[in-house]
């Protein structure tokens, strides 16, 4: 049986809110402009991640694309990170463009602002998806055909929407509670849809790379490309291994010292070498959908995501600070969009980025260490305070324009 690795990497950076106080609200609207050297300075972070992750990884990926004509991958890149790369790390943006110019790197659709708008404001959600499509067309000359929602947040409603919107595929977490006895290593179709296909992340194999790779306490450490491809070759009944992860796995979450780049270097070589089983390949998300008929229908009435042990939205909307903050923000939506003022609308959209709510997460034990690692704030309460102060300033700006608030 021929088998494909479907490698999909997600690239994203939010606009972090600086230490924005109630005294700034009504006086300054520079929520995202932290002073240089501050933990929330977006320019510093993007430059650092570009140097540690984007540039070395893209260099490696480009080499692999040049060395192996069969090597392919898919990427999703948010609008917020693209803007920041344009502003502060143009060479990193060019390195992404160099990948897509090979014709073997597919870009996946999503919301421009990496938001949870689907669950709060459908019109706004569609607007952000369109903004993202236009940005991708402008920078990469391709139109995305497969959709992924922020945090892989997925349910039947989203699949129905994406089907109606004309996407050929959609990505989600291959969570056991959804799959039951089934394997994530096939193409599926969401229930209640006509044409669209569903690709489910193989979280076990994906997390071996994304989370466990550098963990010396892990029984499989050290993980080599040889060992990893051996596991795949030994998996009999499968058509596709969906390896979905954050792009920043390479060089940022797993540091260079762990050997993650060597793993990446050897993965195509080991997977494609002649003496391994016949028919091994790499496919982009669209190719694997074209190559296989769906194995079954998958029903997901409740929302699943790719985060934490719960695989739900609780990392973003699990406490009342998070739900109050996001509800308050979307309540302003109609009034803000009605102004037609781009600066105000854009600031409102940047505040929709899911990371802001993730920073307010108080699930501190098994998952908390991951949350703390990604937060530039001292604690969830500080994240909440700066966010709400920015929210208050949005209200101030509306009032300034004569809009009742």
């Amino acid at each position: 049986m021929s088998k494909a690795i479907v490698l999909y990497l997600h690239v994203h950076q939010p606009y972090r809110v600086r230490h924005y106080t109630i005294f700034d609200a009504g006086a300054k609207h520079d929520y995202f402009d932290a002073p240089a050297g501050d933990r929330t300075n977006n320019e510093d972070i993007v430059k650092k991640v570009a140097a540690k992750s984007y540039l070395p990884t893209n260099k490696k990926l480009l080499e692999l694309l040049q060395q192996h004509p069969e090597f392919k991958l898919s990427l999703s890149i948010t609008g917020t990170v693209l803007e920041q790369l344009e502003a502060w790390a143009p060479e990193a943006l060019q390195s992404f463009q160099a990948l897509t110019e090979t014709g073997r790197v597919e870009i996946v659709a999503e919301t421009y602002h990496h938001s949870l708008a689907f669950f709060y404001d459908r019109e706004e959600f569609e607007h952000q998806v369109q903004m993202h499509r236009e940005k991708i067309e402008e920078l990469f000359g391709q139109t995305p055909k497969v959709f992924r929602n922020t945090e892989l947040a997925y349910n039947n409603d989203l699949a129905y929407w994406a089907d109606q919107a004309g996407y050929k595929g959609i990505l989600a977490e291959g969570w056991d509670k959804v799959l039951g006895w089934r394997s994530p290593n096939f193409v599926y179709q969401p229930t209640y849809t006509e044409n669209i296909r569903l690709l489910l992340k193989n979280y076990k194999l994906s997390d071996d790379i994304a989370f466990r790779f550098g963990n010396q306490a892990w029984s499989e450490w050290p993980l080599t490309a040889d060992k990893f491809t051996h596991w795949l070759n030994e998996t009999g009944d499968a058509t596709n291994f969906n390896l979905f992860m954050d792009y920043e796995t390479f060089g940022e979450h797993q540091w260079h010292e762990t050997g993650i780049f060597e793993f990446l270097q050897h993965l195509p070589w080991e997977w494609l070498k002649k003496d391994s089983k016949d028919g091994n390949s790499f496919m982009t998300v669209s190719e694997v959908i074209d190559a296989h008929e769906p194995k079954d229908h998958v029903d997901v009435p409740q929302t699943i995501t790719w985060a934490d042990s719960e695989r739900d939205l609780s990392a973003w909307l699990g406490n009342s600070m998070q739900t109050q903050a996001i509800t308050a923000l979307y309540e302003l939506g109609n009034a803000i969009t009605a102004t037609g003022e781009w600066d105000l609308i854009e600031d409102w959209r940047r505040l929709q980025t899911s990371d802001h709510f993730y920073y307010m997460c108080t699930k501190y034990f098994t998952d908390g260490d991951v949350h703390a690692y990604f937060s530039p704030y001292e604690n969830p309460y500080e994240a909440f305070i700066v966010f709400m102060n920015a929210y208050h300033d949005l209200k101030f700006r509306l009032a300034e324009k004569g809009v009742p608030v």
């Binding site: 106080t21 109630i22 005294f23 609200a25 009504g26 006086a27 406490n319 009342s320 600070m321 739900t323 109050q324 903050a325 308050a328 108080t362 604690n379 309460y381 909440f384 305070i385 709400m388 102060n389 929210y391 208050h392 300033d393 209200k395 101030f396 009032a399 300034e400 009742p404 608030v405």
Partner: protein, 404 residues
């Protein structure tokens, strides 16, 4: 007359009202030619030309540094280079020994000790010099524990010292009643000396002009919003959980109400969480701890100032609010309620009534104006000199034959 005054903090190194009260009382006493040596447990410079400030160091230590506030850990640096961190209980024991040594070498007529942290030191000084000991009670352990029993070690110190002291000064009748109830001290041993307010502090801050740092709140008030403020430490005795519960009821009736909570303390994160749990997160603004003009501006931006304390031996914040031009709602369980009549008053536990009065106040300009106008009249009659007169009289009652 020479007084050995034992305190734990003085401005600007104070964490709360105790340091301010000590400072103001001493300033007024000094006008009566009282010679005060004020002994503190830490080394800092203070702007106190009216008295001598001495740091009581443990033997061999040449510097004592407070971590951040006066109630955190202290670092003792010894002459031989050793360094040692000590918690607050250890510090009050070290202070006792240091004050004891100090008292051996100097003459005093009276020892005057402020709150439990200095009480053992006061007893030691009394023993060494054989002079009267006057305790000044700004709060008892039950107050600080929000109505619970509190720390038994602290209660023991309070009880022993109060039994052995020659006289006790209480900052309110409420505090006097608590001392009689909790420690069985007889009525005639306790004198009520209400705190007051330094009008010059208010005047100096008023002189900074009308511009307000809360631009957002200023704009929202023009949109028909009202602001209700609380300023103070975020601790259990301040009753802020009830305040937020009442705030929810107010927001239900008057959605254009913003609650401004300015201060820091161990309940900070709990209160943020509670405001979100109650569904009023966007109506509650937390500013953190503020000083100077930002502190004044919180009072000034408010339509109503609320002090919902569960237990407030005195409570100076409503007087500050009135000084800055804001009418008040205070809990009946506060010392200041004994001397302030033109204010709304509510039992700290009566959330519905608190909500009712807050709602009435923000919806009724005439009520607020009347409250403020009359309260300003009351405030004008208050002075630390009145408190100093009472203390002076007590000194004299205990120092027979010594003239000031």
């Amino acid at each position: 007359m020479k007084i050995l005054m034992l305190g734990w903090e003085l401005p600007p190194h104070n964490s709360g009202g105790l340091g301010v009260a000590c400072y103001q009382l001493c300033k007024s006493l000094a006008k009566k030619n009282i010679d005060i040596e004020f002994v503190l447990p830490y080394s800092e410079t203070h702007d106190t030309p009216f008295m001598t400030v001495t740091a009581a160091h443990p033997q061999g230590a040449h510097i004592v540094l407070a971590d951040s506030g006066a109630y955190d850990s202290y670092k003792y640096v010894y002459e031989d280079g050793r360094e040692e961190w000590m918690d607050i209980y250890g510090q009050q024991q070290v202070f006792e020994h240091a004050v004891g040594r100090l008292a051996e070498s100097r003459e005093y007529d009276v020892v005057h000790a402020h709150d439990w942290l200095t009480f053992r030191a006061g007893l030691r000084a009394k023993q060494v010099r054989n002079v009267p000991l006057i305790l000044h009670v700004h709060s008892v352990e039950r107050d600080r524990a929000g109505g619970q029993d509190g720390n038994p070690l602290v209660r023991e110190i309070e009880e022993t010292a109060m039994l052995l002291a020659d006289r006790i000064l209480a900052v309110s009748q409420l505090t006097k009643d608590a001392i009689m109830r909790d420690y069985a001290i007889p009525d005639d041993k306790i004198e009520v000396v209400h705190n007051s307010i330094d009008h010059a502090v208010i005047e100096d801050l008023l002189a900074l002009g009308n511009d307000n740092a809360y631009k957002y709140l200023t704009a929202m008030k023009q949109q028909g919003y009202h602001v209700i403020a609380n300023i103070g430490r975020l601790t259990v005795q301040k009753g802020l959980f009830n305040f937020l519960q009442a705030a929810k009821e107010v927001v239900y009736r008057a959605p254009k109400t913003i609650f401004l909570i300015s201060g820091s303390g161990e309940q900070y994160y709990e209160l943020i969480t509670l405001s979100a749990d109650l569904g009023i997160a966007k109506n509650v603004i937390f500013t953190g701890f503020q000083r100077g003009k930002n502190w004044r501006d919180a009072y000034q931006i408010a339509d109503l100032f609320v002090m919902p304390s569960v237990s407030e031996p005195f409570g100076i914040t409503p007087l500050e609010a009135i000084g800055f031009g804001t009418p008040t709602l205070i809990s009946k369980q506060s010392g200041v309620a004994e001397i302030l009549q033109h204010t709304l008053k509510v039992d700290f536990w009566d959330i519905h009534e608190m909500a009712n009065q807050m709602t009435s106040a923000i919806q009724n300009d005439g009520l607020r104006e009347t409250l403020l106008e009359n309260a300003r009249g009351e405030l004008r009659t208050m002075s630390w000199d009145t408190a100093a007169d009472k203390v002076h009289t007590v000194y004299h009652q205990h120092v027979a034959g010594v003239t000031a």
